[in-house]
């Protein structure tokens, strides 16, 4: 049984269809990469699964561990083991990194989590999660917090954006650690080298999954601009 199953999930914002009867499944301990151009609904998909405010399916079902979670709040979904790292993590005034990494799990090892994302515990545990951190530092700390949570499903929304190319290895390390710890990962990314660590990938276009399979093959399909689903639409950006 799939850990996460999306059945014909549609999401409409005003008169614009963002996701159109989308089907998707993620197995236990599976890493699934989501590829697609800007504006194809990747982050919307993440918000729908996490249950962010204002993001409920217009139709269809989101099923986690065999039960529909359509109406559950973020908090309830987090209690089931779902968590998410936002593309642009928010800053918190007055909350030290050490506190942030132990918010919901006092027994974890925040120093180890920081090392896993390439940050020195000596330098960062006492710092604040506020605007004194650079964008890249904040993203790494967010990834460390996901490791600390030991989730069943981690949604990583472009963990590589804003982080230098040399740090790709740290992100791969995080994803592999999550998988080794028994988590499934929904990995939204634009970087081919990161998508290749996934067990499976799917390409989103026009609010639908237009291609899925081995990450390399999906990536090649994406690059070869064969997507004809929305000819003249979003895919036209890829061709340009």
């Amino acid at each position: 049984m799939a850990l996460l199953l999306l059945k014909e999930v549609a999401f409409r914002a005003g008169d614009k269809m963002i996701l159109d009867k989308l089907d998707l499944s993620i197995e236990e301990c599976e890493v699934q990469a989501i590829l697609g151009s800007n504006g194809t609904g990747k982050s919307t998909l993440a918000y729908l699964i996490m249950g962010c405010d204002g993001y409920r399916p217009s139709s269809g079902d989101i099923i986690f561990d065999g039960r529909s979670i359509n109406t559950l709040s973020i908090y309830d979904r987090a209690r089931l083991g779902i968590t998410m790292a936002w593309q642009e993590p928010v800053r918190f005034e007055g909350i030290p990194v050490r506190t942030y990494l132990t918010l919901n799990n006092k027994d974890n090892d925040p120093a180890r989590c920081l090392e896993m994302v390439g940050l020195s515990p000596e330098r960062y545990l006492g710092r604040m999660t506020d605007k004194s951190l650079s964008g890249g530092e904040r993203k790494r700390i967010e990834l460390a917090s996901i490791l600390a949570l030991k989730p069943r499903l981690a949604i990583l929304d472009e963990p590589d954006s804003g982080i230098d190319m040399l740090s790709t290895g740290d992100i791969i390390n995080v994803v592999n650690t999550l998988r080794e710890n028994g988590a499934s990962v929904l990995l939204i990314t634009h970087r081919e080298e990161i998508s290749r660590i996934a067990d499976r990938a799917c390409l989103l276009c026009g609010g639908k999954v237009v291609c899925s399979g081995a990450p390399g093959a999906v990536s090649e399909y994406y690059k070869s601009m064969k997507c004809m689903v929305c000819e003249g639409g979003v895919c036209a950006d890829v061709r340009a």
């Binding site: 908090y75 987090a78 209690r79 936002w86 928010v90 007055g94 918010l103 919901n104």
Partner: protein, 311 residues
């Protein structure tokens, strides 16, 4: 239990250490209503404190070049349900000296208590003063706190103040601080207040950057819930070449609370620069969602955010 012991009990609730009273290297002054219960000075510090009909008056002087190693603790309190306390302070830090003053103001059972402070501070050339004021109010919110402070920071001097009232109900708070900064002087004023019930909070902090190269920061953090209200006025005047000032106010509002921020910046010298930022609103939605995605309940998420802002 003696008055001193009762005050010290409240002090411990403020995470204070009673042992400071016995420490011969730590200066202190403990006042209950208008009675001086205990005091100690240390070398390089002169304190002349007297009881007055309504409270106390004190002249405090840190002698030239003296760096007090340990903070000077001042405990002010009213233990009765009703009463008043007026503190008059005249503080001087002579040239090149430095000291940290910590005031603990405690009104654990107050139902109708008025606590007023009228202080004049002079930070001499190259001297540094830190002033921290922490309050512990009981659950009744029957305290009226009126601290007025006028500070002059001379050439190259540094003045840092931190007012914190985040435990118990505020009652009525009316802060009025005014600082004048001389050449290359630095002034930083921080206030953190958590309002509940029908607390009425007014904070006015003003800095005049009078000297060339002077710098200042006014930072205010307010959290309000229930039917509390706050008006925060941060004023900075840039009157000299190279003066730099910033006013930073954040107010988080929940329930039926009402918040108002009035940043006022005046610049009379074209080579001075003063900036301000004010943010008022409910708890940030994205912060809430992030914490809830980490498994915190909505109530716990708000608590973490508010405590962080007031930290």
């Amino acid at each position: 239990m003696s008055e001193l012991d009762q005050l010290m009990d409240s002090y411990v609730k403020l995470e204070g250490d009673k042992a400071i009273l016995a420490d011969e290297e730590t200066a202190h002054l403990v006042v209950s209503s208008n009675r001086i219960l205990s005091s100690r000075s240390v070398e390089g510090l002169e304190v002349e404190a007297n009881e007055t009909p309504g409270g106390i008056s004190a002249k405090v002087r840190v002698l030239e070049g003296v760096h007090l190693k340990k903070p000077v603790h001042m405990c002010f309190g009213v233990l009765h349900k009703k009463g008043s306390q007026e503190i008059q302070m005249d503080v001087t830090l002579e040239r090149g000296s430095s000291a940290h003053f910590i005031a603990h103001c405690m009104f654990p059972g107050a139902e109708k208590v008025r606590h007023a402070m009228d202080a004049k501070v002079n930070v001499g050339e190259g001297a540094e003063m830190k002033y921290s004021e922490t309050h512990f109010h009981g659950e009744y919110g029957g305290v009226e706190v009126i601290p007025h402070l006028a500070v002059k920071v001379e050439k190259g001097g540094r003045y840092f103040s931190d007012f914190s009232l985040t435990t118990g109900n505020v009652g009525v708070l009316d802060i009025d601080y005014a600082v004048e900064a001389g050449e290359n002087a630095i002034a930083e004023l921080t206030a953190r207040v958590f309002g509940h019930a029908r607390d009425d909070i007014k904070i006015k902090e003003a800095v005049v950057l009078a000297g060339k190269g002077s710098r200042s920061l006014i930072k205010t953090r307010i959290a309000l819930e229930d039917e509390s209200s706050a008006v925060v006025t941060g004023i900075t005047e840039g009157n000299a070449e190279g003066a730099r000032g910033h006013v930073d106010c954040m107010e988080i509002v929940t329930g039926h609370a009402v918040a108002k921020a009035v940043p006022i910046v005046n610049v009379t010298n074209p080579l001075a620069k003063v900036t301000h930022e004010a943010a008022i609103g409910s708890v940030d939605k994205k912060q809430m969602e992030t914490l809830m995605a980490h498994g915190l309940s909505p109530e716990d998420a708000i608590d973490v955010i508010v405590r962080g802002v007031l930290a």
